[in-house]
């Protein structure tokens, strides 16, 4: 029955397909599932089969609203149909159903603007991951002043659990924002690198556009690069008053609650 329910075609195709035929000759189906006064046995199983794909589409459209918007209803449903054939749900929660969608899009053939769509899916997956990530207390901004100056060189900063950092080949954050705001001034889908920090603050998910140097600096810090080295490397990539910019970025990120703490022990 499950084989039929998960089949992407019509219910008649499903009961006649090889995986189902191995279990049951379609001519024998009435010997397993009773017909009702109004529906044949196949039609009754078809009620479940028809609802399966709708449920999967609804779940993935909820997690990937911008991907669904870009593709349109029909193409998105076809994508989902192929996706759940390759990655059926194996978890008790539908929250995890879409975990492989960005990679699936990246590997798919015949998907229009595949690289853009893959980037968009990566961003939306990051949003759902951040939405559901465990809560961790943010490092209070006033704590910054309490770190001894000598400890900063080797200090290691720890981001909150609800934090992701991503680089894209397309301006997907702008596209997602226009979809969320139901605007119609979508950015032109042209290659243009973009960098985004996705994090949760006060139980809301935020998406912060970054410049490339800011992204690289934040990536180094969030990956545990000692503060002194991260600053030196970032300063080397910047021109002019690098110290001021790095300090301003750091101050803003701490104020946004992106870090949960800092290991400033001098024994490192």
């Amino acid at each position: 029955m499950q084989t039929v329910i998960e089949h992407p075609g019509t219910v008649e195709e499903a009961v006649g397909a090889p995986p189902a035929r191995v279990e049951l000759d379609p001519r024998q189906i009435e010997r397993v599932v009773l017909p009702s006064k109004t529906l044949t046995s196949v039609e009754r199983v078809g009620v479940y089969q028809g609802m399966y794909l709708l449920r999967m589409v609804e779940a993935l459209a909820s997690d990937y609203p911008a991907v669904a918007h870009w593709m349109g209803e029909e193409r998105f449903e076809k994508l989902v149909s192929r996706y759940v054939q390759a990655h059926p749900s194996v978890h008790y929660s539908l929250n995890r159903l879409g975990d492989h969608l960005p990679e699936f899009i990246r590997r798919s053939k015949g998907v229009r603007k595949k690289e853009f769509l893959g980037d968009l899916a990566r961003l939306e997956l990051a949003v759902t991951e951040v939405f559901d990530a465990p809560q961790s207390p943010a490092w209070p901004a006033e704590e910054v002043a309490r770190i001894p100056e000598a400890a900063w060189e080797m200090a290691v900063m720890k981001p909150i659990e609800a934090f992701r950092l991503a680089a894209f080949g397309y301006p997907v954050n702008a596209y997602l924002q226009s979809v969320k705001e139901d605007r119609h001034d979508y950015p032109e889908i042209r290659r243009k690198p973009s960098w985004v920090a996705i994090y949760r603050k006060d139980y809301e998910v935020w998406r912060l556009d970054l410049t490339k140097p800011a992204y690289e600096f934040l990536r180094a810090l969030s990956r545990g690069r000692p503060f002194g080295k991260a600053v030196a490397e970032a300063a080397g990539r910047l021109q002019g008053a690098a110290g001021d910019r790095l300090f301003r970025w750091l101050r803003d990120w701490v104020a946004e609650g992106i870090f949960q703490g800092i290991d400033a022990s001098t024994s490192r």
């Binding site: 998960e6 009773l34 006064k37 009754r44 399966y52 139980y203």
Partner: protein, 311 residues
């Protein structure tokens, strides 16, 4: 004050006065475990979070979909923690897959137990169904073959689940759209024997009885009359979609009069039991959902008056 179940190996320790609840009535209307009548509740749904947090509406209790809070550390859990402080909570799941031939998911059950502790849930329910085999989850409530073999299988699993959760399991009758030729008993007979042999309870969904009766051509009144009243811990009510040839349990509309009639018939047997309205698609404003739920209170009162007059 705590309520101890009578003649049960389970102990719940409900702090029911915390919410000003009354313990379950004794006598013919009392349920097997002394579960309190929580009154009339509604499902806690995301689209209503803002309204609930702002208005703190007068709702007797909330029911949560367990799986919606088991895989998140974000806003849903934060909202739930706040709701738990103000309302009684019961938990209702859709992924236990008690009828599946796959092994029970122990990690799932441990998380379910932890959530029940966190929410101080008064009881935990799921469905008599299977949701998938071979490690897959169709996220649907698929029908069981109602056979002796299936009964023995489910009895054994319910006992295991109850031991893990350290509380009795309540199972809901799902709406079904197909029947198996191999079935050797009716659903109400299956439920009656299951509850007796596994010592579990029933979340009686009156709309589902109506839907399945329509789809399979049995008498819904006969179904309700066959359910042991002391095993009913909660009622569900909902709207559905009638396709002519069959009915789909869509939870997207008001409860129809025929279902209200069945509800009253069942309440006459069970006495007042916690009742919840489900509205899960095309969800209207909270007040609309709550007003629909509160119709149950009027139906209960009317039925109580009839019973009193008859006595």
């Amino acid at each position: 004050m705590s309520v101890a179940p009578q003649g049960s190996s389970f102990y719940f320790g409900f702090e029911i006065l915390e919410f000003g609840l009354k313990p379950a009535a004794s006598g013919p209307g009392a349920n097997r475990w002394g579960f309190p009548d929580l009154g009339i509740g509604v499902g806690l749904r995301t689209v209503h979070y803002a309204h609930i947090l702002e208005k703190w509406p007068l709702v007797d209790f909330f029911e949560i979909l367990s799986e919606n809070y088991m895989e998140t550390g974000g806003r849903p859990l934060r909202v739930l923690d706040q709701v738990v402080e103000r309302y009684p909570i019961v938990m209702h799941g859709v992924s236990m897959s008690i009828g599946s031939s796959d092994p029970l998911d122990r990690e799932y059950l441990q998380k379910l137990k932890a959530l029940a502790a966190r929410t101080r849930a008064l009881w935990v329910s799921d469905h008599l169904c299977w949701t998938g085999v071979s490690g897959r989850n169709t996220h649907d409530l698929l029908p069981m073959p109602l056979t002796e073999e299936a009964l023995a299988h489910v009895v054994s699993r319910v006992k295991t689940v109850s031991e893990i959760l350290e509380r009795p399991l309540m199972l809901e009758n799902a709406s079904t759209y197909a029947e198996f030729a191999a079935s050797s008993m009716s659903e109400w007979e299956f439920f009656g024997r299951l509850m007796e042999e596994a010592d579990c309870g029933m979340l009686l969904d009156v709309n589902n009885v109506y839907v399945s009766a329509y789809n399979h051509g049995f008498d819904p009144k006969g179904y309700l009359d066959a359910i042991p009243p002391e095993r009913v811990s909660q009622y569900h009510l909902a709207g559905h979609t009638n396709k002519g040839t069959h009915i789909i349990d869509t939870h997207n509309d008001h409860v129809i009069d025929a279902v209200w009639d069945l509800y009253r018939r069942s309440v006459a047997r069970t006495g007042n039991v916690s009742t919840l309205l489900e509205w899960d698609a095309d969800i209207p404003a909270f007040d609309v959902v709550h007003a629909e739920a509160l119709k149950a209170r009027a139906h209960r009162a009317e039925e109580n008056t009839v019973a009193l007059a008859a006595s």
